[in-house]
Symmetry: C2
Subunit: 395 residues, 2 copies
Amino acid sequence: MKVMENLLSERIKSTPPSFVRSILKTAADPNVISFAGGLPNPVSFPQEELLVSMDRITKTYKDKVFQYSITAGIPELRQFIADRYNKKFNLHLDIDNILITTGSQQALDLIGKTVLDENDGVLLEKPSYLGAIQVFSQYMPEFHTVDLTSDGLNIEQFKETLNNNDIKLIYAIPEFQNPTGLTYSAENREEIFKIIKDKNLVLVEDDPYGELRFKGKHLPYIGAGRYENSIVLGSFSKVVTPGMRTGFIICQNKELLKKISVSKEASDLHTNVFSQYLIWDYLMHNDFEKHIAKITELYSAQAQTMLNSMDKYFPKNVKYTRPDGGMFLWVTLPEGVSALELFPKALEKKVAFVPGDPFYINKKNVNTMRLNYTNADCETIEEGIKRLGELLSGI
Amino acid sequence: MKVMENLLSERIKSTPPSFVRSILKTAADPNVISFAGGLPNPVSFPQEELLVSMDRITKTYKDKVFQYSITAGIPELRQFIADRYNKKFNLHLDIDNILITTGSQQALDLIGKTVLDENDGVLLEKPSYLGAIQVFSQYMPEFHTVDLTSDGLNIEQFKETLNNNDIKLIYAIPEFQNPTGLTYSAENREEIFKIIKDKNLVLVEDDPYGELRFKGKHLPYIGAGRYENSIVLGSFSKVVTPGMRTGFIICQNKELLKKISVSKEASDLHTNVFSQYLIWDYLMHNDFEKHIAKITELYSAQAQTMLNSMDKYFPKNVKYTRPDGGMFLWVTLPEGVSALELFPKALEKKVAFVPGDPFYINKKNVNTMRLNYTNADCETIEEGIKRLGELLSGI
């Protein structure tokens, strides 16, 4: 073991352990009601339709769906994405603005690889997506965090952080944020844009949940369509299937995207081409809007059940967010209570959540936790929240 | 553009441009006979059988093949790999020695990420696989190369390089090497093992072509089964389908593999789970050995045709290797002739190859080139070699 240490990179030594994955293992007991993961509800996977598409693409494109392919991703799927975002967000994208990635997680890795040197400044929300913290950590940047409020970023803090530090990359999840479920208001986005518009940095808006809005109306991106080094990340994981690991990068600056593409080539040559054809064929031959509506209806009911149950079973000194979409909500316990310490007690009651710790940079025993409502039916959600309520009433 | 430069990492600036991919674009003209790529022959893809497996896994495992999964890869496929290598190479692997990767290329990236700090010593064959040079370059190591001979590594140089430098990682392709098609002899492997056996380094034996032997018998690995930090890389790209991007890492040291697994999680969470079930199901329900025999028979004939044509059409001062398997052979032109300069002239004659340059560290206008014989039928191969012969006769 001592010998092995000498063979490890500083990078891997500074990568936080895979917190959620180890929690997921603990919560794998089928008797545990788990709000810990971030899994889409499997009833939302269009299995029958995908099987039809598999048959069709294999017969139509034959060996093309099994052979090596180009790094950028198949033009058909990139065109679909460009068209969809152009229409929905009034953008002017073509296929050279799009790079298909092996899930959205890979997009984060490629951006880190292409942009970050050691000690470069990265600005994150506080709290932020733990997978982003993990992957960016591997490039050993200097993290700066800005409080996330119910309206979006704390603007004063944001300005201060940008003024006092050399920030190269901003990473934000403006829509149904992971972990909090919060959404930046239109005004907040506009203020952020005004502050950064003359600055030379890369703005990443991670948007895996944007299609999952069940309340209110879609909001424009902060940077897309108007900020040069704007990047938007999207994914088919939450609206078609996560198992196929198909996400995408939308990048305004084609030269920057070419560089990211070199990192992509070095990382895995290209994304699974069968999956790309499959998802594209599925999108071409089915009513995607109707499918999305079915998912949001499902998640809306599940989120509402969770909130109603929390209103009923949680003590009044426990606060929580009320998301307009996405997959998560965020619970704040009374000050001084450690969610991490509650975790084993919750497991005894056969219910699991993610303690807030891994969503912060170097913070321990915080009084927050993330709950997922997409991967359990309403009855199970109520039962799980009831168990959690019993536990919280004792703190 | 100048502004963008400030936003790029040193890493991406030191990554060589994607040479082969740009060549592949040039050679995409369907009238060009291309020996440039590294594509398996599409007639080798078991398309019918894969379609049957798709139907079966979707009906049997339902949403499991579409959902998020564990980082290590599905246990069923890892068990298959462990069993196969145990039997074939007399090893003692279990599933915790195996990590499924998004193609073999990702394995290289994960190893680089987990092991390499800036300026760490990496020992490569001269010449070596360009994709390895590209991906390791991103971790900005110090490269040291050792001449590859028809027997394997030049042992004197190898010793000297190890003695005079701090080498953390050795990367070798002992079987049907890319680009040369050469194979290390059993004696060479043994000598290498003796030299490194008490040294503290990571030995990577990249073995994507090992199953494709059409002459001679299988040889034991250098390190697998007896060297602590031994890593063997394998892939289903050449024997089932490359489009599915399914490769694997076999690592003796489970603690080291756990660290690589953390890098894997940060990179893309896990490999496409549908592809993993698909390949596993295909392997379970078909005669894999028979399938491999069909491929090697095909490639043997194609390699033989290429060699016969070269004997017939190439001038005598042009030398080439005679591989016992794999996908490539290596041509050495008279000294002072630049293969790179020949390339546009070859394109005029509608034939393409890869000039040797990208297989070396910082070498330009070398007198070597790589030819691939797997992705064209025998008639096309003869015609292409004839055209190339005409060109070479004029140098």
